[in-house]
Amino acid sequence: MQKNHAHEVWGSRIGLILAMAGNAVGLGNFLRFPTQATVNGGGSFMITYFVALLLLGIPLMWIEWGIGRHGGRYRKGHIPGMFAALWRHPAAKYVGVLGLVIPLVVLIYYTYIESWTMAYTLFSITKDYWGRETQEAMVQYLQSFQSIGDASVHGTWKPFAFFVATLSINIWIVSKGISGGIERLAKIGMPLLFLFALILAVVVLSMPARPGIGASAIDGLQFIYRPDLSGLGRPGVWLASAGQIFFTLSVGMGTLQTYASYLNRKDDILLSGVATSATNETAEVLLGGSIAIPAAVVFFGVTGAVQIASSGAFNLGFATMPVVFQQLPLGNVLGFMWFGLLFFAGITSSVAMATPIVAFFREEFGFRREPVAWTLGAVVLVLGVLQILWLDYGVLDEWDYWAGTFGLALFAVVEVIVFMWIFRPENAWNSIHEGADITLPRIFKFIMTFVTPAYLLFIFCWWGYEDALPILAMDKSPDGGSYAPEAEPYILISRLLIVAFFVVFLFLIRLAWKRNAYDDRLGFTEPEDEEAADPHIAEQVVV
């Protein structure tokens, strides 16, 4: 039944882990994590964070790798195919539409945000914002860059130019394939990201207290790690830390599964999954927590840093940090490193978002990778321009809520049910242990079958009740405020666009299944001779 074996492979295991970690390490590691830790009580947040890592994050990582590798056995690198391989029911492929729509929506606005980091890398090295030494001045500088019509600092062309450049780089990398594009990017980008982050952490942590402020960078660490356990009784702290684990590991997106589909059954996924999670956590806890908040504390004091963190992660990253860099020797180089590391964190994630969609069109319609990638780029360009033009109306926040928050939780709930319950716990457990370098304690079977789904369902229901319903009814906006009356038509159009993505992809899934004459009840046929069916497997590095 597999008419098109558009399958690729990873060049090496370390390349795979770096790409997976690059997928997971994103802007959230350096901006969202310190902000969340600060506003959710430091020590309480960290305890609940590690509990969520063990009960939610790492089990979900294994589940996603398992779903992906199982789909790869049938040459399916996209979620509709992977779900159909696990669940022989006509509905399976349609449920998998989440794994195409969510990465597309997030890709569109995430690439736009990523373009800010590229722009600020250039603004830093050229000292473009030098002389704006207050938080207010840098916020104005940022707003002028973001807001079309506010040409007080930046020309209107700038956000468009940087978006086009960022998107072009993304699509070029995706068009080069898994080994030739994404793995190569990870092998260059991830070491540079860690190097830049390490240098910045050392510089920030060695900064002395400033006259008039009196707080040192160590006081910033003290603030994050103060063992205040009073928050352990607050559900909000547990939800915030679970949400952070969720976002930071890039689970619920459909991207880890696509990367894992390029493995074969002899490859380990359990130890590699732990290595990927651990690499992400090192980037987040060790480095992400040691840069932005400690720097903000030195220059604005503990109270000022909390205020900045409460005003949003972007203000911390794009306004506070440039204020700090202007006061430091070689500040333009440090600024280049800060925004450079954010750029690498962003691009290694955004290229991953494109891969499930490219895989779907290649595998089901037989298209070549390059035309699919560049066509996807054209779609992202058009819709990304809408994001730029409508940023002031809250359209980016709207998409981020429905796809990047609610959608991820929904998708995670669905995939855990499909893999652990419908595919059955014993099959799932045996599947993830195929080729494994480690054997998991049996307690994890119980955790993955009952605790992780319960944890996810609780988060999903809580968010649904607290946020999704009021936001859907437009009683409150995703940032907790209210929608401006003039923004409401744009918000409704942006929601209709997401609905349109679902309709189009559902139609395409139906078309693909008809075109390839798949029988939902029979499932896919596994190639009889795996090595003969996929000549690349012989080249795979199986450690």
Binding site: Q222, I224, Y225, R226, A275, V543
Partner: protein
């Protein structure tokens, strides 16, 4: 920085670094064998 905060930070860092070194150590050992 208070001692309790320092201990808490050290434990957090030791956990993530320990997990990272353990995982990559196992991978490298496997590669050698």
């Amino acid at each position: 920085m208070t001692t309790s905060s320092l201990v808490f930070m050290a434990l957090s860092w030791a956990f993530v670094l320990g997990l990272t070194f353990w995982a990559f150590g196992r991978i490298l050992l496997k590669k050698k064998s």
